[in-house]
Amino acid sequence: MRVMFDGEEIVDVEPVFGYLHRGTEKLAEERTYSQIITLTDRMDYVSSMLNNQSYVLAVEKLAGIEASPRGVWLRMIASELQRIASHLVATGFLLQDLGALGTPLIYCMRERERILDLFEMLCGARITNSYMRPGGVFMDAPDEFWPALDRELDDIVNTIDELEAYLSGNEIIFSRTKGTAVLSPELLINASITGPMLRASGVDWDLRHRDPYDYYDKVDFKRILHTASDNYARYWVRVQEMRESVKIVRQCMEQIEPGPVRPSFDDVPRLIRPPVGDVYSAIEGSKGELGFYLVSDGSIAPYRMHARASSLINLTLLREMLIGEQFGDLFVIFGSVDLNMGEVDR
């Protein structure tokens, strides 16, 4: 990013990205629908379950596949755990940029490690999971998963309480983050920003409430809104969303029932040939609206896949946020937008 300064004040900003471009959308044209799941893992590498879910829902919509219930519940549990992990990363690195020499970062990472251990129990890999398949997930959770998940949810709530005790009321954090980079709701809506950035300015837009996918209409969780659209508000929205995700996971654990986790191969073959057509389907990812646009020509690979990357669209407002701010706040503002370069460049 090229930044021009006048003493301590930022005068001009020019983001330069593309260094992590791997040609995901072009590669997707040569891979079957199930193989693309491994590509979507690596887009936003911090929240790979959410990428998987978004893509798999798009394929289900395109091919008209009906997902099996237990698979959907497991998908929701995995996605909400991944949302918690992604927000832990965002919060930890924001606090690191504020200068607390790594202490809150390590606390957040410690919790995230335990969530990744849960993912290892589920699907064998910690970060690039490829857990989901069109119609559900590929394997059921082992028996030792459920008590471990129960314990882990209590630990997560404890860590969130610790983080809040650490940070709420901390004058230094207030004075560094309150009142900086304030954006008006009209500007955010016009720039098609979504996610915690939008909810921090009071706009009540969460795709899990507005356009429920999977079984999000069967679980009950609050809408987290804040009216002052500054750095502190964005950070606060993410911390509260973590609490709501814990509640969602608990409700999923109560409502899940035994059954097959993916449709049988007679109904949904391994090589899916969807009917000719196109579809756009989006979910509420950890950074905003994460959508996939798939165009099918009837063969085993899509004709075109496009990913609406929430980080790329969220960063279009960097100029408005940064111009006029102090040099010391540069990285704090950058961290509060919560960008992930893998998603920006795909």
Partner: protein
Amino acid sequence: MIGMGLPRGFVVTLKNFLRPHSTEQYPDRHVGLFGAAKEAGMNPVQFLVKRPGDSLKAIAGLATVPVKVKQSARFRGNEFTYFEERCTACASCAKYCPLGIIEIVSVPGKIDAQEGESYKLEVFDIDIGRCMFCGLCVEACPYDALHMGTSFERSKYVRDDLVITKDELWDAEKRPSAFYRPQFEENGFDPFAEEMEDFHDAGRHERKTYDEMKKKWVDER
């Protein structure tokens, strides 16, 4: 008043100071006298008497104890487990791999001529230098011949050594992970404790009953 919110942060840091550390040290862990004694299976007094040199090292803080990493049974390791008796060289794994790193060359075998030709495998190479360990090949194998392994320390000094050849797969220890193999978990197989000796244990031997096959191929046509 200034500074009233800060003490809560201090309390949090102090509480974490007093907690035991959460570092998992690998491959060995520093222990004191009590830890070294526990590792040797004696109580500290016996340890001091029987092994004075080691106990001196432990008191000086120089003793280490090897550590095994906690892995779950479904861990997707950096290797593959291959049961050659089950493989028919159908190359489904090679077709399903997103990266195309599996190379299979087979020739007609001229054995089992009564049941039709079966294929003799000449080359089965997996390039783990480019593999992303997604497990799609394991998912594709219809005969449960290829499984993911559990080890992760597979670095080599020469890049060409990263290609696993057919002989390496044949001779390696068979510790398949339970990734995409629910039958291992049902049978209680733990890849870290034992090796899978018999290839019959590796797969599900569900055969469709005659009625099921008749229903699908005859009745539904």
